[in-house]
Amino acid sequence: MKDMLKISSRLGLICAVAAIVLALVNSITAPEIAAYQKKVVEEALQQVSVGYEIGEEITSEDETISSIIGINKDGDLAGYVMNITANGYGGPMVILASFTSTGEIIAVQLLTNAETPGLGKKAEDQSYMTKFIGSGDSTPVPVKKSNLTDAQADEISGATVTFSGIAKALQLGSSHAIQLGGTN
């Protein structure tokens, strides 16, 4: 019994010290991390809305779309930038994508993700998203490997889960943009 008490109190002490140290480090680093994350989102927002002015934020009713911001051209509402959560191979991925009001994909950026480096992580490259850009309006968003060209299918081999996660999120965003409509 005495032994038991000694063991548990020592393990408890180790855990308590570890928790205190971690809490201290976290309280110092958390604001820095939040500021950095905010900067990343702002930069991505600038990039996906090239050629448009950033308009007002619209409240989102869909759970997987965490925010919608209208983008304007010549003062008129021309499309939307959406922050969409997709399901990847390594858990949720955050995608920032812009759509015209007719649902056409203008630009896509993959933000926070935990995809496998060398495979799914390639989706962070700008060139990866070219297979989606321009679709969603008259041509459907490619959600299956069979919708892609051979070269594109090769590019995603080994990371099909990442691809279909992004594709489904973009399809959702596109149909949401059509639903919201616009002035043109």
């Binding site: 000694k6 063991i7 548990s8 020592r10 393990l11 180790i14 855990c15 570890a18 140290v21 971690l22 480090v25 976290n26 110092i28 680093t29 958390a30 820095e32 991390i33 950095y36 390594g90 935990a114 995809e115 496998t116 480096p117 060398g118 495979l119 992580k121 090769d154 081999s157 080994g158």
Partner: protein
């Protein structure tokens, strides 16, 4: 004492001889840069966990030593992750995904259990550095083979006008894709292990 340092690089190489830490090895060895990042992370965490395990070896009760080591290792990994995320965001962007993987790297727990809890602080540091460097070199070898054959590139850190990617002629246009996939990891690992076995048995005579 120097023996404690060099044994991790050759004689007791964690990957090819004692076969520890294979999951991260097979998982991240698709690009050379990943090997460098993972290696640096493991060297750092291994050194600090060995120091603390060696310091606390008389305080930690034998019956709960494994949970205690895990708490120590996980704390260091979390600290590294938070500090890196806050102050070195560009480094975190490229290495961030590997950091949590270090917690489950068997090499670290293996060295805490197999070495640091019976030895002094100084030798434990040497052991950690040797094992860490041995791990990094092995990982570098596997990832070099896999990236060159599987993708036809060698990816290093981007510096100035150099984007960090060296393209190998011929292989870049027609890479052996299988080598960069999971099956390729096992194949390369198996052939290398066979080669080192053959080499060391020949050296022994």
């Amino acid at each position: 004492m120097l023996k404690e340092f060099t044994k991790g690089i050759f004689k007791e190489n964690p990957i090819f001889v004692i076969l520890l830490g294979l999951c991260p090895t097979l998982g991240v060895s698709t690009m050379v840069i990943n090997a460098l990042g993972m290696g640096a992370g493991v060297i750092f965490v291994l050194t600090f966990s060995n120091i603390f395990v060696a310091l606390l070896k008389d305080f930690i009760p034998t019956k709960v030593r494994i949970p205690s080591y895990i708490v120590i290792i996980a704390s260091f990994v979390t600290i590294v992750e938070m500090v890196m995320h806050a102050y070195m965001p560009s480094l975190f962007a490229s290495l961030g995904v590997f950091v949590p993987l270090i917690v489950v790297n068997c090499i670290i727990l293996g060295r805490a259990e197999g070495f640091a809890n019976q030895n002094g602080v100084l030798v434990s540091i040497l052991d950690a550095l040797g094992m860490g460097i041995g791990f990094t070199l092995s990982l570098l070898l596997i990832s070099l083979i896999r990236e060159v054959l599987g993708s036809g590139t060698i990816t290093l850190f981007a510096m100035g006008s150099f984007d960090g990617v060296i393209e190998i002629p011929l292989l870049f246009n027609a890479p052996m894709r299988i080598i960069s996939l999971s099956a390729g990891a096992l194949l390369v690992m198996g052939y290398l292990k066979a080669f080192f076995n053959w080499y060391s048995s020949r050296a022994r005579g």
